[in-house]
């Protein structure tokens, strides 16, 4: 039982990473209609921002983390302006390839500028370990889970209550109608990318403490984030978050009980099976595609 609980904890921790990325992906797709292949790279940029905050600016961890999230706001804006806005009206193929190209540039620019050797960041909570019910975990993980849930709560309130949030939900439902009633479509798209970037910033400020920072750290995360988004129903933020946690659990369980090598195959297999049985995702609405 102890072993099983250990793996559940592992799964939830993995899942919180996927959920943070998936939430941003889902928001950007729902509001701007764009599949952002470079979203994992935003997470990577945030991680390097944390590193710079600690090393170059000499900030203590808490300040560096806040600095990271704040820095990701203009980064998101820049990303929108350079990559998303120019292909806003173009076909979906071009949009996909544009974000893919952005991903290639960001990863390789990081390799050239920062080097492919990993960097480490530290936090006072990382070394403090709690033991609950026989399961050992660092307090940093508690912080990650707490901040993740807080961020989602804040996002939920924004989407439900705030004027701009409601506008974004309207856009996700019907773009042309929104344009017709005067909702500023492009500004909403910018806001969605900035929020997605900030969420990636939260992830980047907290998670790299437990591992390390490399230029390619975002690649696999993007793909698993997409898996979560698709399973949750494209554009459905709640669905993406739940699916993110679910995929984390699937991966941990597969690694524990089947094989560590093929664990990722289970994650993608789960995605494909979901698409076969329910093409609109677990939470999406059925859409007729010829």
């Amino acid at each position: 039982m102890g072993f099983f609980l250990d793996q559940v904890v592992n799964g939830v921790i993995l899942g919180s990473q996927y959920a943070l990325i998936a939430a941003g992906l889902a928001l950007i797709f729902g509001v701007a209609g764009i599949v952002n292949f470079a979203h994992g790279e935003l997470f990577m940029v945030a991680a390097y921002a944390l590193y710079l905050g600690e090393s170059a600016l000499g900030l203590p961890y808490a300040a560096a983390a806040v600095f990271t999230v704040i820095v990701m706001v203009p980064v998101g804006g820049l990303f929108y302006g350079v990559v998303i806005r120019p292909v806003a009206g173009a076909g979906w193929q071009k949009q996909l390839v544009a974000t893919l190209a952005a991903s290639i540039v960001m990863v390789n620019l990081a390799i050239v500028l920062a080097g492919s050797l990993p960097k480490t960041v530290s936090s006072p909570l990382a070394a403090r370990v709690a033991v609950v019910g026989g399961v050992h975990f660092s307090l940093q993980r508690v912080l990650i889970l707490g901040c993740t849930l807080l961020s989602f709560a804040a996002l939920h309130m924004f989407l439900m209550r705030a004027k701009w949030g409601k506008g974004m939900r309207a856009l996700a439902q019907n773009r042309s109608a929104c344009a017709a009633v005067g909702i500023p479509v492009h500004r909403m798209g910018l806001l969605a990318v900035v929020i997605g970037s900030a969420l990636a910033g939260v992830a980047g400020a907290l998670i790299p403490v437990l591992s390390n920072i490399t230029p390619t750290m975002g690649l696999l995360l993007t793909i698993k984030g997409f898996a979560a988004v698709i399973m949750g129903g494209f554009g459905n933020v709640t669905g993406a978050i739940v699916s993110g946690f679910a995929l984390g659990l699937v991966e941990a369980m597969a690694m524990a009980y089947v094989s560590s090598a093929y664990a990722d195959a289970f994650v993608f297999g789960a995605l494909i099976v979901t698409l076969l049985l329910r093409p609109q995702g677990l939470f999406g609405h059925a859409v007729r595609v010829s």
């Binding site: 250990d6 390789n108 390799i111 080097g115 437990l210 591992s211 941990a252 560590s260 664990a263």
Partner: protein
């Protein structure tokens, strides 16, 4: 309107291609002739990965080789050394392309490389037609030795002892410390898979049970699940087969999970690189590792100092091995003369007492230098044992 955008694209491309063309034309062919008589410049072609996620292999190897070139040229004498490089992207087609570029375009006298086994395997097929020798100093795949030397590719040479040799020795060492049950955690690459295959055989021969074998993807970042599996498997010890970047993260999570079993390693875990990546000193205390190089730099303090002066960092395994490889080539040149044929002849007769032990190539063009067992003791790298593997 469209034409204006086209002009922008062309304006972007022209300077890039112009720059590239200028650079490649300045790389003049070396005068290392194939007849090997009295040529003064020896061109060494380093094939390694200089782009993408594996870029640091090439960067390290180039740095180590550059120190060697500086030292060799400072000594003076009949031969002057020149280093050129080609990116092989760590893939077989990349290796084939890089070896081809080095041989046919940059006209080198010998190839040093590749640190990546896949690239070496892809590139070595070009050697017989060009009658050009290549020396790898970091590739770990056993297939290379199997295909080289007698009955195979006469032009491929390997300096670094591979895992088949090291596993035999290290396995006995571990068993002698009273370990009966061990778990393995290995990187899922040619290096990791090759080592696991070797250790499976030797542990069985030494009556050590492998309780579980866990694999991870390089740069994975989260090893909790694998470590939890290992903790639950009842192993007395854990063998890490991987590089120090992942090992540092792994050890942090190992401590977090409260695992207290003994840790062995096979890679470059006990190294200054690990200390930098670890963050906290003493994270690796107690780890014992089998190495084909000396991470404490006691065997070559002059090189470590020269490297630090030039690059302001500690040399890791790829740099050390490249430096050693350059000297093996210099030995071959001294014995057989310059040029492709001279170096190929010379490599066959090299018998060098190197800082890491005797370097002499057997029938399969494999050298058998010494093996090092290293450990972290109170945050310092210490040598536990130095073992002869030759004869």
């Amino acid at each position: 309107m469209k034409d204006k955008r086209w002009r922008m694209v062309v304006a972007l491309l022209v300077p890039v291609i112009g720059l590239a063309a200028c650079q490649s034309s300045s790389a003049s062919p070396g005068n290392g002739s194939t007849t090997g008589n009295g040529s003064t410049t020896i061109r060494i072609g380093l094939s390694a990965s200089f782009s993408g996620a594996t870029a640091f292999y090439g960067q390290q190897a180039k740095a180590g080789a550059e120190v060697a070139v500086g030292e060799l040229n400072a000594k003076g004498g009949k031969y002057k050394y020149q280093l050129v490089t080609a990116d092989d992207q760590c893939t077989p087609d990349g290796g084939s392309s890089a070896f081809g570029n080095l041989l046919d375009v940059q006209r080198v006298d010998v190839i040093l490389g590749s640190p990546c086994s896949a690239a070496t395997l892809g590139g070595m097929t070009l050697l017989p037609a060009a009658k050009a020798p290549a020396l790898t100093v970091s590739s770990t795949s056993p297939a290379i030795t199997q295909q080289a030397g007698i009955g195979g590719n006469k032009y491929m040479w390997r300096m670094n002892i591979n895992d088949d040799v090291m596993a035999t020795v290290f396995s006995k060492y571990i068993a002698a410390q009273g370990i009966k049950k061990i778990a393995i955690i290995a990187v899922n690459s040619d290096f990791g898979q090759g080592a696991v295959a070797a250790y499976k055989k030797t542990f069985a021969a030494d009556a050590v049970t492998i309780t579980t074998t866990q694999f991870y993807t390089q740069g994975g970042g989260d090893f909790r699940t694998q470590l939890t599996n290992i903790g639950a498997s009842g192993a007395q010890a854990m063998l890490i087969i991987g590089a120090y970047q992942d090992a540092a993260v792994m050890m942090r999570q190992f401590k977090e999970l409260g695992l207290g079993i003994r840790v062995y390693a096979r890679g470059d875990v006990v190294s200054t690189g690990f200390q930098q990546a670890a963050g906290s000193p003493g994270l690796g205390n107690g780890i014992q590792e089998a190495d084909n190089w000396d991470p404490s730099y006691q065997a070559y303090p002059g090189f470590a100092k020269a490297y630090w002066q030039k690059f302001h960092g500690d040399p890791q395994s790829y740099a050390v091995q490249a430096w050693l490889g350059m000297q093996v080539i210099a030995q071959a040149v001294a014995a057989g003369g310059g040029g492709l044929a001279g170096i190929e002849r010379g490599l066959a007769t090299v018998s060098w007492s190197s800082p890491i032990g005797p370097v002499k190539f057997d029938a399969h063009h494999q050298a058998h230098h010494d093996m090092f067992i290293m450990t972290f003791d109170h945050g310092m790298i210490k040598m536990v044992k130095r073992i002869h593997t030759a004869g």
